[in-house]
Amino acid sequence: MTVWEPPIREYDFLFNEVFNAIESIEGLGFEDFDADYLAMLTEGWGMHAKEVWLPINELGDKVGLKFEDGNISMPQEFKDAYRKGIDEGWLATACKPEHGGMGVPTFFSSVTWSEFGTSACMALSVLPALSIGVYEVLTSNGRQDLVDYFAPSLASGELAGTMCLTEPHAGTDLGIITTRAEPEDDGSYRISGTKIFITYGEHDMTDNIVHLVLAKAPGGPEGTRGISLFLVPKYLPAEWESGGVEGISHDLVPEHNGVTCSGSEEKMGLHASPTCVMNFDDSVGWLVGPLHGGMPLMFQMMNRERLATGIMGLGLAEIAYQNALAWSRDRRQGRDLRGIRDPNKPADNILVHPDVRRMLLEAKVNNEGCRALAVWTGILIDQMNSDDPEVAEPAEALVALFTPIIKAHFTDLGCETCSTCMQVMGGAGYCSEFGVEQFYRDVRISKIWEGTNGIQALDLAGRKITQNMGKNLRHLMWPLTEFIEKNRDIPEMGEFNKPLHQGVRGLQQITLLMIAEGMANPHFLAAGATDYCRYFGNVLLGYMWAKMAKVCLERQGEPFYDAKLASARFFFKRIYPETISLAAKIQSGPKTLMDYPAEMF
């Protein structure tokens, strides 16, 4: 029996006290949005996730999906829960009001929504998350008739969407895909090829599915520059004969559009999230965006999904922590080494043991730091749409910089935290009765999805740092340096500000080293990328903890704020120091990796 309470007070603190989220999005088209509305949405979604999604999570793992004759049937409980999400309007938070959505800010729709959804039922949460990704690519790049026809049902959840990139021989290297798109005279295309690892590629949760498929149309250059993006429905509209879909009814042809599923992978976790082999055989599709210009669009969706995946790490780490904590509060083993605490009981509660506290605090403090960074990033994504370049430009730079860090660091921590929480519970943690072993298996994919964490680290070190002559990093260093300077003379801030300052200086030095050495030897950059990404993640979480501590110092004496200050102290004393060893590893360069004889592995 797993437990979970949506961390509503935490979001209230971050939205209203740390980041002033409502003020941050003034003038960005959210005029109706205020703190009360945000609080009601947070509570309402938390209640829905807890009452509707959480109860099916274990069932999804135990029962899972059924693949038979090319069809995937989902557990009835999943269909019912998904339907309730549609009926109660919770799947449309991110979409625009003109398509029937709520049009709420990203810091709710992509952060709070994703965390609660993945905590309660990660296997279900990925379905609407993918559909919204398709919705965003379609509405910002698609032909008007495609937008009018597909966007409202994608927004509500009546229609599901997928992204089809990977092929059996082409995963990270998409330039070598072989799926073809042949143009027809009516402006549509015929798509043929095989795609693998397609999440929710086939299922019976919705009447129809639309796939965003990467394919190569004739006349394009080699490599990724020759890739185009196509919208391919599982079933075609019944009234469609040729051309577009303007003004036609939503009735469907009973036979599929050459889109078939030939298998679903057996996986370590996420047993109720289909992972499909999809075949497209002369399937009708429509171009989305420019011909041979599909990759930037796919990256638009991918960047959104990378953030969502990072927050999956947080969501699973949070529910694992809550279950480990609930278990710890009841568990009695051994005695406090400094003297018996509870003489009336045969043993003391395990919270008396420093090592149990270490594990629980590592989980809690990393979760809270990640949540803060996620909220800030959500606000920045909204600010990217500002007309004021002084707001939009830094926001864009920071989001570009943070995306690989959130994806990699949050999911690394998510996996570590689920493992640590299992460790807190000993043998019980390994048993399925208590849920944590499921979270551990479910969260593991997040390090692989949407570009492995190794790829994220290379994206950060090899691209995001040097992009536009280092502009991204400058946009981070300005507010960071300003914060450090402002707090330099506040004695109470010293214990947070000083290590932050050291970490930032270290980050600058290591970044210079990576760039300088990397220019001469790209292996230097690649060998240090993963450690660099983790170093960077720690500095960002350090900034978040220093910012939170600053707020809490004003309200000392109240238990919530005192606990936050204690958490900030724990972070700087017992998590942040790993930057020292990470720096040493980065500085050692690629020699020990590359000098090792390949034949001796």
């Binding site: 509305y37 009601m40 109660e88």
Partner: protein
């Protein structure tokens, strides 16, 4: 049909309570919620509206923080919201007078509320209001539906289930109801945000709050629980049995 539902905001049943100066420290209550029996009344009101139409007015008597509870009620479908500023009223007859005046002013002819509030557990509000508005009172019900011009209410009795027929005007107090309060949906939350809360005072309602006829004479905390006793071995059985019989009076 005018349906009034009387709601009270109380410390959440999971909230930590701290006592300061022999009283519950309200400023330290971490979470305030709608009293659970009132939630059943509200759900029943929503079902009455769905079955037979009419507007629901939610009325509370309390401090300004209670507006949050009213907005939550609007999110599940309440049409009108009234906050009676309590002006420090603690006497239950005063609260009843204020609520009764607000009900009368709303023109509602059926009133629903919880059988008691989760904080004070007095249980006097429903019967008191029904007396003041001249309505029949059916207490401790779990379900109600309209039939003809009146209503049928169901309630458990020691010998089985009672089915009570009552005509308007009437007031029902709810025990644990047949259905939990529904979750707010997104559209409801969006609508609730736009809903105005009418804030009224005793003067607005024409109720003269005099001095209270009730005053708290003294307050003493519950006696400290005696420490537990431990018995080991089969020899202690007669002693344990004697204690259970003579001291604890449980056998």
């Amino acid at each position: 049909m005018g349906i009034a539902v009387l709601l009270k905001q109380v410390p959440d049943t999971t909230a930590k309570i701290s006592v300061s100066g022999d009283r519950v420290d309200e400023t330290a209550v971490s979470k305030w919620s709608m009293s659970p029996y009132d939630e059943y009344a509200l759900e029943a009101a929503l079902q009455l509206k769905e079955a037979g139409g009419g507007d629901i007015v939610a009325i509370t008597c309390g401090p300004i923080r209670a507006t949050k509870m009213l907005t939550d009620a609007a999110a599940v479908g309440v049409d009108n919201l009234i906050l009676i500023q309590d002006e420090g009223v603690t006497d239950s007859t005063h609260v009843q007078s204020l609520l009764a005046a607000a009900v009368k002013r709303s023109g509602s002819d059926v009133v629903l509320c919880g059988k008691q509030a989760a904080d004070t557990n007095g249980g006097s509000t429903g019967p008191g209001v029904s007396h003041l508005i001249g309505a029949a009172c059916v207490g401790m019900i779990s379900e109600v539906y309209a039939e003809g011009d009146g209503f049928i209410a169901l309630r458990a009795s020691p010998t089985g289930n009672e089915r009570v027929e009552v005509s308007r005007p009437c007031l029902f107090t709810f025990d644990k109801g047949a259905t939990e309060l529904r979750r707010p949906n997104v559209r409801g939350i969006m609508m609730a945000k736009k809903k105005q809360i009418e804030t009224v005072t005793s003067d607005d309602l024409g109720v003269a709050i005099g001095t209270s006829s009730v005053s708290l004479q003294s307050h003493s905390p519950p006696p400290v629980k005696p420490p537990g006793q431990k018995f080991e071995g089969a020899d202690s059985v007669p002693v344990v049995v004697a204690k259970l019989r003579d001291e604890a009076n449980v056998i």
